[in-house]
Symmetry: C2
Subunit: 205 residues, 2 copies
């Protein structure tokens, strides 16, 4: 008798997420998830009508956490300085420090995992991912536009793609750190983005 | 009667590569590859003992092409200038132009696809990917070390991770362009890497 259905549900989702990050959605069976979560098939289908439905709920949970993480880190950075350039630099630095403090290898990104198998998912799922990525673009771009008004910058830099570059650095360094088994790659690459922003916008002496 | 076994082999490999890029290795069945390549099951197993063996040969072929692409582009860049900074800037610009000239959406990176399902592959396969990524690090780093001797630069920049940044930009922008369905993202991000290198090493006036 299970008195805590929410915890069974969470157990299944956590096991599925970790299995999918190792084997991909197409390489993950319901049986493998059940075994990893240590629950019965009945319990699984009580919570999820199908593997596809589990996949949808997983990416929605991931996107919600991602948004929360983005917004909270932005609020934190904005609380630490009044200057928009400093806010953005602190924002990047906070992610850098967070990744540096991880003791386990970074588990990977569920968005990238799904995108590598995009034909297995319907448009609703791909839209959830797209909206998450566009939110990063929007938030960083807002900050860059405020910075642009206050600071001179080196050359005609395209702000939208400069905003995208943060997500690009995250996703690309996840791939490299996965292959080379070096967690520090992620922090190092964020440091380069930080440095690039400084070089672009630093005040002329 | 098939008089051209090499072409059947290539047909199978091309069909498999494209299917894997859309559905992942775990989501790709031998039947799907056979259907896509329009060959018989007998022909498939004449050429490949198993799906795993096909997976190994595919990534080896991909790595060989990747290395050839890297080395040829480097030789081309070195032929266009004697200055190491200009050579590296041209090297990046050549990739940017190549991607800009693509008419179809970029199909994705087989390395990243495999890494997203790393538990489905043995160490030999993951080593092929790792060696390819390390070759990019080595080649770009050699160039950066030559540049460092000749140019002053802004601050203590870590050259190894700066070399890695090219691969990071490639892989990260593949993910973003896949999600947002914007091919131009890859060229835009390469342009930022190009710009960052210029800001780091440009001669002081």
């Amino acid at each position: 008798m299970n008195r805590d259905p929410e915890s069974t549900r969470t157990k299944i989702m956590n096991a599925a997420e970790s299995t999918i990050l190792d084997r991909g959605f197409g390489g993950t069976t319901v049986n493998a998830v059940i075994e990893q979560a240590d629950v019965s098939k009945g319990a699984f289908f009580h919570h999820f009508s199908s593997k596809a439905e589990l996949g949808r709920q997983l990416v929605q949970r991931y996107a919600d956490k991602d948004t929360q993480h983005l917004e909270q880190t932005l609020v934190k950075a904005e609380g630490l300085s009044d200057d928009p350039l400093q806010q953005l630099l602190i924002f990047v630095k906070l992610f850098e420090q967070e990744i540096e403090s991880l003791e386990e290898p970074f588990p990977g990104c569920l968005f990238a995992s799904y995108l590598q198998q995009s034909e297995l998912f319907d448009d609703n799922i791909l839209d959830i991912i797209r909206e998450s990525m566009l939110l990063w673009r929007t938030r960083v771009l807002e900050k860059l536009k405020t910075i642009e008004k206050r600071y001179s910058h080196h050359n005609d830099v395209d702000l939208e793609s400069l905003a995208d570059m943060l997500m690009v650095i995250f996703e690309g360094s996840f791939v490299l750190s996965q292959s080379l088994n070096e967690n520090k790659i992620i922090a190092q690459q964020l440091a380069h983005y930080h440095n690039y922003l400084k070089l672009l916008f630093e005040e002329k002496p």
